[in-house]
Symmetry: C2
Subunit: 194 residues, 2 copies
């Protein structure tokens, strides 16, 4: 497992998120986040990180099979760009690790803001220097993808944990963390009514 | 179970949704929606609709216990308005039924647009003629509430169905439908990048 990738700037000096730690705490309350979820996700990380490539194969298979989703990865010729898909894939793998392992501190919050901007017109295509006709990831699909990014993770959890209740706990924690992340990534789309 | 409520205008002549049926089909693909989910939700409706008041008790208990959520129901004095909470509650109950039973046709899509506008600055407080300082439901919490609205439904499904696999199927279908709905309700918040 790589520990960094081009464009992965979690540990860099980042712009401050417009979302405050107090607002983050409210969002955590809205998704029923608890210390038990943090524990469960750390355990999930031990199981999921070694399976990162297989998980990405499932997700990329799904995106590749849906023209309206792969459109976000169009290159200058309007066709899916292998280079762009590959560059994002590396960071997506690190995202799996980060969801499981990182604390929700100011640095984490600031990086969520950076990633949010990279989905939005503000910064899309800049990190990978792609001349893409896709100027943003549509908000509707950012939200909708909570489902496949959640439900596809369960069999990977079950691969590493025989106890169904423990799998459930990790699965719920993953669901909460993914939804929380999407809520944060929605900020640039509606800064005044977020 | 009531079949209508003040402000419930599903069957009225509604403004056309800015979302097309083709866009709806793409969103359905993004949430992995299938005919099996429609079937599972119809069965879920048989189980959930008779438990509507108990489900609403759980949801309202959660909202009432979180100051940042109940703030959406503030009346003119800034305090939670019992009248406003009650009026929304009636329609929320009908929403449970509609999630389970309604086809995703043009009329359904148009009503999702109407409800979306009622969360947004466009129309919030108008239906119930409330003079509320809360001008919109924050987009972040609209997204975040996918979690509690999903995970709290499972025990109600299990109350009416002993087979765990059948409960799972209904639960996944509910999760997909709720996420799809939130994606649609996000439209007024970011019409240009939706």
């Amino acid at each position: 497992m790589t520990t960094t990738a081009p464009g992965y700037t979690f540990d860099a000096t980042l712009d401050r998120s417009p979302v405050t730690m107090d607002q983050l705490a409210e969002l955590e309350a809205s998704v029923l986040w608890s210390d038990d979820d943090r524990e469960a996700l750390r355990r999930a990380g031990e199981i999921l990180v070694p399976q990162t490539e297989q998980i990405l194969d499932v997700w990329y298979g799904f995106v590749g099979g849906n023209a309206h989703l792969v459109a976000a990865f169009a290159g200058a010729d309007g066709q899916p760009s292998g280079e762009y898909l590959g560059a994002v894939r590396e960071r997506f793998g690190l995202w799996i690790r980060d969801v499981c392992e990182r604390d929700h501190d100011q640095q984490w919050l600031d990086y969520q803001n950076e990633v949010a901007l990279r989905h939005h017109t503000s910064k899309k295509n800049a990190t990978d220097e792609v001349d893409s006709p896709a100027g943003y990831v549509p908000l509707a699909h950012l939200i909708a993808l909570i489902v496949p990014i959640t439900v596809t993770i369960r069999p990977f959890l079950a691969n590493g944990e025989p106890d169904a209740a423990a799998v459930d706990a990790m699965y719920q924690a993953w669901f909460k963390a993914v939804t929380l992340t999407v809520a944060l990534w929605a900020h640039p789309y509606a800064p005044d009514t977020w």
